[in-house]
């Protein structure tokens, strides 16, 4: 093997990912006194978190004082169709308000209520106005605030130690390709600088994964190029497990026309602020799609729905505000029934319902975005929208309190979209931003604690580094293989067409076959050019991650014979209480994905007691209901 230069660094905690969860984790690790590295695949501050528009859900009760963590917890479990890890949902509901308030001490400027508190807005699936927001650029505010907090910590370190990078350093445009182990313990991470193509090795006893999602495996997606499932794949290869991988959220309202904005989200707040969905006949069709479980909370007539915007206490909500999966399915049905727009979506109309000034004031960046990107004036014409791959509920199986990855590996933590369990089968809008903060902080803190408990630092083995170098250089050294762009397109076609929003057994089996073929081709991919900022090479290295994560999704989707949240099987259209008791767990066995069933942890009595029996009856098995009855009997 020829000699390869590798830059070596020693850190206590390495955080992979510089979005909301990663930055929050890094802040916590640094506050705990650990020498912390942040690995950012893009430039610092460009992470996908900036795309979040709606807001961050936290039961602060600023707008409706009846809101509290119990109500938020209930909404989250309901939204996730009771498949959530209850403990994560509980921690999230309890801790989000503090995490949001903390951001204000970092300099965040949220929109305000009349009495000067943080304003909160309505959102699909949330019972009360709950989303702290800044116009429709909340994600940008969050990332910028955390970025600036990190800068302020670096300024403190500069004063104390003379260097900004003394205790927390950002490695921007750096990709990690491999985690390195010492036995079952994390020993470090290996990757490359995108700019120079030079290799870099981090020796660190604790790694926090915060790499986000997997959307780039889909044709129509709102996700950026970074979302190639890196963290999911790194975790699998290090011996950790993934859960809930069959659950992908297709945001119901992505733009489908024109192509310059295809996939881009139209935030739910358009509907929260009065926007309605219409089919090509001009019919407001959502009234036909209210499922029984939600019947009681949603309006039956347009008149009642319209009254709700001004008088939410005495009217039921408009069905446009149903959880995302319901809206996505409804749109899909309308389009399939031939009542869609020419581009295969439906109309989202706010232009005819609000004045131009009000739309511009409430949705400024949305207005500008579509005006400039696509020359579409949302104050004058309806938008053409349809489902777009948006979020993966599944991810690294973690301990709910610490974020430590389950499986055989120690020293590995995960937070944010890359972790699984918190959102169950479907995530509520607004819950992801608060998820990033709550579990980012927890993962960072517990990673720091873990390093304290460690006797000796795990050592990186030379052989593992050599293997990682070889794998990374392989695509450049081959000139016989296919183009990574072609392979990505083919992968996107398989996932989009066969493992998309509506799934069938035959198609899923077919997809697994095609993924196996793709695996052979990806193993032989070649990239032309050199190492210096070569996007073709970068994609070639990302492909194997996308592929293994896609295999997990396809396998789990084939296994789960029911429809729930972000997983819809045409051949099993109903929810099945038996399946609610099961998490599908993916692990890597050599090269192949192994799927196992694992029972869901049972909710604590005081938490299950927050729900009506009638509601639980829709989700629980008869035995579980009997237990619940016995429990309430005791209390009386």
């Amino acid at each position: 093997m020829t000699e390869t230069r590798i830059e070596r660094h020693h850190y206590d905690v390495v955080v992979i990912g510089a979005g909301g969860a990663g930055l929050r984790a890094a802040i916590e690790a640094r506050l705990a006194g650990k020498k912390t590295a942040i690995i950012s695949k893009s430039l610092f501050g460009k992470a996908h978190t900036v795309m979040a528009e709606g807001g961050a859900a936290a039961a602060m009760g600023n707008v409706n004082s009846r809101d509290n963590w119990q109500v938020h917890f209930r909404d989250t479990m309901r939204g996730g169709k009771f498949l959530n890890n209850f403990r994560m949902a509980e921690l999230h509901a309890k801790e989000s308000p503090q995490r949001i308030w903390e951001l204000e001490t970092y300099g965040a400027l949220f929109d305000r209520t009349k009495d000067g508190k943080i304003s909160q807005r309505n959102f699909g699936g949330h019972e009360y106005p709950r989303l702290a927001h800044v116009g429709d650029r909340t994600g940008l505010e969050l990332i910028r605030t955390l970025q600036q907090k990190i800068v302020s910590l670096q300024q403190e370190d500069k004063r104390e130690f003379g260097s900004y990078d003394a205790r927390i350093r950002v490695f921007s445009e750096t990709t990690i390709t491999e985690l390195l182990l010492d036995g079952d313990r994390v020993a470090g991470a290996f990757g490359y600088y995108r700019e120079s193509g030079e290799f870099i090795l981090f020796e660190a006893p604790a790694v926090v994964l915060a790499t986000g999602g997997v959307g780039r495996s889909y044709k129509v997606t709102s996700n950026s190029w970074e979302y190639t499932g890196d963290g999911h794949a790194l975790a699998l290869r290090a011996g950790a497990t993934l859960i809930n991988m069959e659950f992908l959220q297709f945001h119901p309202t992505g733009m489908v026309w024109p192509p310059s904005v295809k996939g881009i989200l139209v935030t739910e707040s358009v509907r929260g602020d009065g926007g309605v969905l219409k089919n090509s006949d001009g019919k407001r069709f959502m009234f036909d799609y209210v499922p029984d479980v939600f019947r009681k909370q949603y309006a039956e007539t347009e008149e009642e729905a319209d009254r709700w915007y001004t008088d939410p206490d005495n009217n039921r909500r408009p069905p446009e505000l149903l959880p995302r999966d319901e809206v996505a399915r409804a749109i899909n049905s309308e389009v399939k029934a031939g009542r869609g727009t020419p581009a295969g979506g439906v109309y989202l109309d706010i232009a005819s319902r609000k004045s131009a000034e009000e739309i511009q004031r409430r949705l400024p960046s949305m207005y500008h975005q579509f005006k400039e990107l696509a020359d579409v004036d949302i104050t004058k014409e309806p938008m053409e929208v349809g489902p777009t791959c948006h979020y993966v509920m599944g991810g690294v199986e973690v301990d709910p309190d610490s974020g430590a990855a389950a499986g055989s590996v120690r020293g590995l933590f995960a937070a944010g979209e890359v972790s699984g369990g918190m959102h169950g089968s479907n995530r509520l809008g607004g819950n992801s931003l608060s998820d990033l903060l709550v579990f980012g902080k927890r993962a960072g803190g517990h990673a720091a604690t873990y390093t304290d408990q460690l006797g000796a630092r795990p050592a990186v083995s030379v052989a593992a580094v050599e293997a990682a170098v070889e794998t990374a250089l392989a695509p450049l050294q081959r000139d016989t293989g296919e183009s990574p762009y072609q392979l990505q397109q083919d992968l996107q076609a398989v996932m989009g067409d066969l493992v998309g929003i509506i799934r069938r057994e035959g198609e899923l089996a077919d997809a697994l076959g095609r993924l196996a073929e793709l695996r052979e081709r990806v193993a032989k991919v070649s990239a032309v050019g050199g190492r210096r900022y070569n996007p073709g090479w970068h994609l070639a290295l990302d492909l194997r991650n996308m592929l293994v994560v896609s295999e997990c999704t396809a396998k789990a989707a084939l296994e789960r014979q029911e429809s729930r949240g972000g997983h819809t099987r045409e051949d099993y259209p109903a929810m099945d209480p038996k399946w609610r008791q099961v998490n599908l767990v993916c692990a890597l066995d050599g090269d192949t994905v192994r799927l196992t069933h694992k029972p869901l942890p049972a909710m604590r009595p005081e938490l299950i007691g927050l729900f009506d029996r009638a509601e639980l009856a829709k989700y629980l098995t008869d035995e579980e209901l009997a237990e619940f009855d016995a429990l309430t009997e005791q209390e009386r």
Binding site: S42, W101, S224, P535
Partner: protein, 356 residues
């Protein structure tokens, strides 16, 4: 359905490079970044270009398109003639890494040098109270997506590397302005700092930064000018200078420019507008007078105004088309010095008190 279009793209690295011609298919409704992606997927897989969201929200795909600093994802192909060759080059102000990717670390260094938000000492998390009207002015600047187009276009550093150490650039002037206008920021020397450490004085308000801002932040009018005005208030406002000539030195009390943070002013904006009420007088005018202790300007402090744009919505001004070599006067071209006495708006501090 697509048409063939001509593209010229700069390719190379720090050792040099040149424009290369490509013929590429363009479909209806596409933007320049779509075309670059098509080139990567077909002809030139190693064409280096930054991008992330492809939705005008992350500010990654900054480039110069036909010489104008733009975001690739926000430049619609329909804005060009069908026969027009589209020339794409990397940002000129920053060193090239490869093709369209430049080394923008200058900006991250300047970000680290800009003092961070200083939280008020006695306010617990959750107790922050601010009025919408007071946070809105800072919120305008927090819309910044850090595309660095304003930094790229700023002529202070565009072809003057030697100015870079002393000059933070428009992006960080609005960061300073944002913190200065933050109702609860505990630091009181933001504008002095901007003047002495960030090189605010280099800026001579050509407004090129405002013109290229994809977020339409009024960088100059709402950020830089208010910061300058308030520094100028004390440092070298010609009116104060004149006042000092007319009155004996010391008789004119100096303006206390730094916003007077009353201690424990948690509800700063809510209680009274005394903290950040300089540009616009949108707050309690009594408090404003008090803050200005003595120098009773008696002038309507001008509201930040939108720049005069032409029919295309652009300023009728670029570095290249400007009709003179030097920068325009920060006071406007219609002002001559010394000012005629009747135009002065200086008033005696005690002039409002009843005469005996």
């Amino acid at each position: 359905m697509g048409t063939k279009r001509q593209f010229r793209i700069w390719r190379g690295d720090e050792t040099g490079g040149d424009l290369q011609d490509y013929t590429v298919e363009v479909n209806e409704g596409e933007v320049v970044l779509d075309v670059i992606h098509r080139l990567q997927a077909t002809e030139v897989p190693d064409l280096a270009c930054r991008w992330n969201c492809k939705a005008g929200k992350c500010g990654s795909c900054s480039m110069e398109i036909n010489g104008k600093p733009r975001l690739g994802c926000m430049t619609r192909m329909s804005t060009f003639e069908e026969a027009e060759t589209v020339t794409v080059t990397p940002l000129r102000t920053f060193p090239v890494i490869r093709d369209l990717v430049t080394d923008v670390s200058f900006n991250y260094e300047k970000a680290r040098e800009t003092p961070a938000f200083a939280p008020p000492a006695d306010v617990a998390p959750g107790d922050y109270r601010m009025q919408q009207v007071d946070v809105e002015r800072s919120q305008e600047f927090r819309k910044c997506i850090e595309c660095f187009l304003c930094q790229n276009v700023c002529h202070v550093i565009r072809d003057h590397d030697e100015n870079k150490p002393a000059f933070s650039g428009p992006r960080f002037f609005i960061r300073a302005a944002e913190l200065d206008m933050h109702p609860l920021d505990a630091r009181t020397d933001r504008k002095e700092y901007a003047q002495s450490e960030m090189g605010l004085g280099f800026c001579n308000i050509t407004k090129c930064c405002t013109e290229v801002c994809p977020e339409h932040i009024k960088i100059t009018d709402n950020g830089i000018i208010p910061m300058k005005e308030r520094v100028v208030d004390r440092r070298y406002d010609p009116l104060v200078w004149l006042g000092n000539k007319i009155f004996r030195r010391g008789q004119v009390p100096q303006t206390s420019v730094t916003s007077g943070h009353s201690s424990g002013a948690v509800t700063a904006g809510a209680a009274h507008g005394g903290v950040h009420s300089h540009a616009g007088g949108s707050h309690d005018s009594g408090a404003e007078r008090q803050a200005q202790q003595g120098v009773n300007w008696h002038r309507e402090v001008p509201h930040p105004t939108a720049p005069a744009v032409d029919s295309t919505g652009k300023l009728p001004l670029t570095e290249l088309t400007f009709d003179r070599a030097a920068a325009p006067s920060p006071f406007g071209d219609d002002v001559e010095f010394p000012l005629p006495a009747e135009h002065l708006n200086f008033a005696h501090p005690q002039q409002d008190e009843p005469k005996h």
